[in-house]
Each structure stands twice: as C-alpha cells, then as structure tokens.
C-alpha cells in the first residue's frame, strides 16, 4: 500500500525527513509516533501528495508520488482519505453536507449519496445532529464528522494526523475503536500520535518511531505486530 525508499524532504531549509524507508501492507494498522516536530505531519503530507519528496522513491496505492501529475492527485486522494487534528470540516455546512461532499466530488448519484451518508451517520452516532451546522458541534462531534467523511468513501488508506489531539480521553478511546473497527474491514490505517495512552488502546498495531526526521524503529511488516508500546531508540529492528 505504502512504499517509501530513502525519501528525503526539505522544509524551510531544514531537512524534515531523512532517508526514510517505510513499507506498509494492505490492511495494516500503523502508529506513527515521535515527539512534536519529529516529522510525523511531514511524512503524512508526503503520503497524500501534499508535499513532494526531494529524492527517493515513493509509491502510495499504486500512484508514483515522485511523478505526480495534475490528474493523478485527485486519483490519489480518492484512494487515500485524511483526518486532521483540527478536523477541517466546513462550519457553515451541515453534518450531512460535510460528509456528502466526499461523495459529490466522485460523481456519486444523489440517491446513493443519501443512502451512504445516512449509513455512516448512523454508524458514528450522529443521527440527531444530521442537519446541524458543524460550527455548532462539539470538538468530538466535529471529529466524528471528519472521520465519517473519510470513511464514507471506503478508502484504501486512511491517514490520521493526531486525530485525538483535541479530544478528551473517553472520546479519544471511542474514536480509536472506530478506526480499529474500520481496519478490520480491510482499510489500511496510518495514524500519527504522540499520546502513549492512545497507543495502549491498540496494542496489536505496529509502531513506527520518528525522531528528527529519521525512522528509528520500523520492523518490516512481515515481522508481525509489535506489542511493546515503548519505542526502541537507536536503530532498526
């Protein structure tokens, strides 16, 4: 699903990613951990085509990121959904509209949109807020809207950048359960977090540790789940 080889990335004169090599197979659940400023966001931006690596080889869902041309970016984004810490929902639009937008851009018929959006709204327990403007929702509800928007399209890969960063512990746990559930349906998930508690809720997930743009721990996906929540510093397993 994700294949990065010796990827380097420069941001604002500093090297944000250094010689990053990472392979994630279909159906995996991967935590991207590391302190603030380690390069987690940068790595995710590379994965959804927002940032072009300076050198190396990068392939996500069959799209060559090093040779990303105009029409390929929408193709990539239709396979890869992104959830952010700050939700990125439209406050002026309703819950329904915010979720439907992802289907609209794909040219899905309005009958089908109606059905699928309702199903996700039900699954995420947002039924009572369907026609509320997102600006009126709590943070947890807004994040659920953002997750609903990413899940409604059945993406191959979901990238989540500290999705629980603005939420309290209970809500965070609930959201991690949602991601895990979605993962069992076959969606690959890569989630950046620096919250130990979050890691403990999905102990079966693989952890990839980043420090100052360098991957310090990344067992090959074939090696199975890493159960230890403490990252191993200084070298690859």
């Amino acid at each position: 699903m994700v294949h990065l080889e010796h990827v380097n990335c420069i941001l604002g004169g500093a090297q944000a990613l250094k010689d990053v090599t990472l392979h994630v197979e279909r159906g995996e659940f991967v935590f991207l951990t590391g302190p603030s400023g380690a390069g987690k966001t940068t790595l995710l931006r590379v994965l959804y085509g927002d940032l072009k690596p300076k050198s190396g080889a990068a392939d996500v869902a069959g799209v060559d990121l090093m040779r990303l041309r105009g029409a390929q970016l929408p193709e990539l984004r239709r396979k890869v959904a992104v959830v952010f810490q700050d939700f990125k929902v439209l406050p002026e639009r309703t819950v329904f509209e915010n979720i439907a937008i992802a289907l609209e851009v794909r040219g899905v018929s309005s009958v089908s949109i109606d059905k699928r959006v309702r199903a996700v709204i039900r699954a995420l327990d947002l039924e009572e807020r369907s026609y509320a403007r997102c600006g009126e929702l709590s943070g947890g509800e807004q994040q659920r809207v953002a997750i609903a928007r990413s899940m409604v399209v059945n993406p191959e890969l979901i990238l989540a950048d500290e999705p629980t960063g603005n939420l309290d512990s209970d809500l965070s746990r609930h959201l991690i359960e949602l991601f895990k559930q979605f993962n069992t349906y076959g969606t690959t998930i890569i989630m950046a977090t620096h919250n130990r508690e979050v890691l403990s809720w999905a102990p079966e997930a693989r952890q990839v540790h980043l420090v100052r743009g360098v991957i310090t721990e990344a067992p090959p996906s074939a090696a199975g789940w890493v159960l230890d929540t403490k990252p191993i510093i200084g070298g690859r397993a």
Binding site: P74, L76, R77, A81, K88, L90, V105
Partner: protein, 311 residues
C-alpha cells in the same frame, strides 16, 4: 456531479458573500456603462455625420423689421432652388413664440415678472400675452437652409460661393456657416474609430481585473472549502466551475444593468439636447451593439474567473 449542477451551485453560493458580490456587480456595471457611453457617443456622432454628409447648412438672418412679404417670397424661391435639401423658416413672430415656449415651463412666476420689469412693462404676464412685443419684435426673420453639395464640386469653395450668393440676397443682414464643421466631424470620427480598439481592449482588461480580483478574494474566503474539496479528491473543474458560473453571472448582470443605466442617460441627454437651436436627437445604441456589449463583458468576466480560480 453534472456541470449544470456545479454552475447552479456556484450561483447559489453567491449568496454567501453578498458584499463583495455587490461591489463587483456595481464595478462591472460602472465599467460597462463607461464603455457603453463611449459607444453611444461614437454611434451618434457617426449617424450625425452620415446624415449631414455632403450637406451644407446655412443660417440666414434678415434685417430686423424687413418686409415680411418680400422675405416670404424669397423663402418660396429658396425652397425651389436646385440642390436644396431642407428649409426651416422662422418669422419673427414664430421665433418669439418658440422662444417663449422654451422659457415658459421653466419660470412660470418670478422669472418672467422680472423680465417684464426689465422691459419696463409692469403687470402684464408674457406667458399669457406678449402682444406688447408685436410692434417692436426684436427678433429677425431667419431661415435654416441645407443644400446637397453637388458631388463633382469641392465642398469648401462651393460653400464659399453659396455663402456669397445668400449674403447678397435682398434684405439679408447676416449668414453664418462653419466651413470646417464637415472636415472637423470627419476627422473626429476617424480619430474616435482609431481610439476605439485600444479603448475597448482597456475596458476588457478592467472588467477582467475587477471580476478576477473579486473571485480571488472569494477563493481566499473559501480557501478552507477549496482545500477540503481538493483533499477529498475533487478534480480542478469541480472547484472551478462554480467560480466560472459566478463570474459569468456577474458579467451578465453587470452589463445588463449598465444598459439600463445607459438608456436612462440617453433619455436624459435627449431631453437636454433636443431643444432649439441644437435639435440633437441622441439615439440609443443599435441592438447589435447592446448585445455585443453584454456578450463581451460576460465573456471577459467568465475568462477572468477561470484565470483567478487557477491554482
């Protein structure tokens, strides 16, 4: 989602930013009005020149108190003269009543009383009765004569000769004509025609910049939405089509609005200029020019919005 739906969404979204939309609409309207006024002047000058092309006009003034029967006989002769196009004649009485008619609606009270006082006749209202002037009418008999200049003649020397002939008529005090009027008008129209293309290009540029700028501002206001659309995999056209529709509607509404303003302007100009001695009938733009104005503005606005919406 179909293109039609995207266009409709773009139009519906205009409601969400009413103030910048209104400002753009007014600016597009103003600029189109400016261009329309230019076209209006050009059109009217052109039709005036065409109408009077090859014609020479003389204003003849007889001496005050000249024998009216003799003058009227001269008018009959004039009307039969070879090459005559048009003769308008005014007896002193007709000229006076024309003058009074021009004055009457403007000052029905104080103004006339004052003029009466100046003439030393108090109490009588001129509007009702100006018989007191009959005997000593200060206005001369006049005639406005237009000739078709014979095609095998040079206009200027021919007009000089005609001037001498008219001046020599019995009882004529003065003849006026403007020998350079013709060449002036022709020269002016050539100049305007030369300037028309650059002016229209400039107009298109201004419309484009104005509309493009508003849409840029709108894109800025909506950059969260654009970012999200792009994140969920919208193709460029999905993002740009609503903005394109917005620009087209702006151009269309602005230019149609400007046509209404132009019509208003023309009606006003006509009421101001279609009076003696000008008798300038300011016409409205011909249909094709009105349509062209609307189409051009709309196209430029649409194009500008496409360019503004480019990443």
């Amino acid at each position: 989602m179909s293109t039609t739906k995207l266009f409709l969404r773009g139009v519906a979204d205009m409601r969400r930013f009413p103030l910048p939309q209104l400002c753009t609409l007014l600016t597009v309207c103003m600029v189109a009005l400016l261009a329309g006024t230019g076209l209006l002047i050009l059109h009217n000058v052109q039709s005036e020149v065409l109408r009077t092309q090859g014609q020479a006009r003389f204003q003849i003034y007889w001496k005050v108190g000249a024998d009216l029967t003799a003058v009227e006989a001269q008018w009959t002769d004039l009307k039969r003269a070879p090459g005559i196009a048009e003769v308008s004649t005014f007896t002193p009485r007709a000229a006076l009543s024309e003058l009074m008619r021009g004055l009457a609606p403007k000052n029905s009270g104080g103004g006339l009383a004052a003029s009466n006082g100046a003439n030393g006749t108090s109490g009588a209202s001129v509007g009702e009765d100006f018989a007191w002037l009959e005997g000593e009418n200060p206005l001369p008999a006049t005639a406005l004569v237009s000739f078709n200049i014979p095609p095998d003649e040079q206009p200027e020397p021919w007009m000089g000769r005609m001037y001498a002939r008219l001046k020599g008529l019995e009882g004529v005090e003065q003849v006026t004509y403007n020998p350079t009027q013709l060449t002036l008008a022709t020269g002016w129209i050539a100049l305007v025609q030369k300037a028309a293309w650059p002016a229209l290009g400039f107009f298109a540029l201004v419309v484009g910049l104005v509309v493009g700028n508003t849409l840029k501002l709108m894109m800025l206001a909506r950059r969260d939405e654009v970012e999200i659309l792009s994140l969920v995999g919208a193709r460029p056209w999905f993002i740009r089509a609503p903005l394109f529709a917005n620009g087209v509607v702006q151009g269309l509404c602005g230019s149609v609005l400007s046509l209404f303003c132009l019509k208003f302007l023309q009606t006003w100009l006509r009421s101001v200029l279609d009076v003696p001695p000008l008798f300038l009938k300011v016409e409205f733009l011909p249909l094709w020019q009105s349509v062209a104005l609307v189409l051009c503005t709309t196209c430029v606005a649409g194009l500008a919005s496409l360019i503004a919406a480019r990443k």
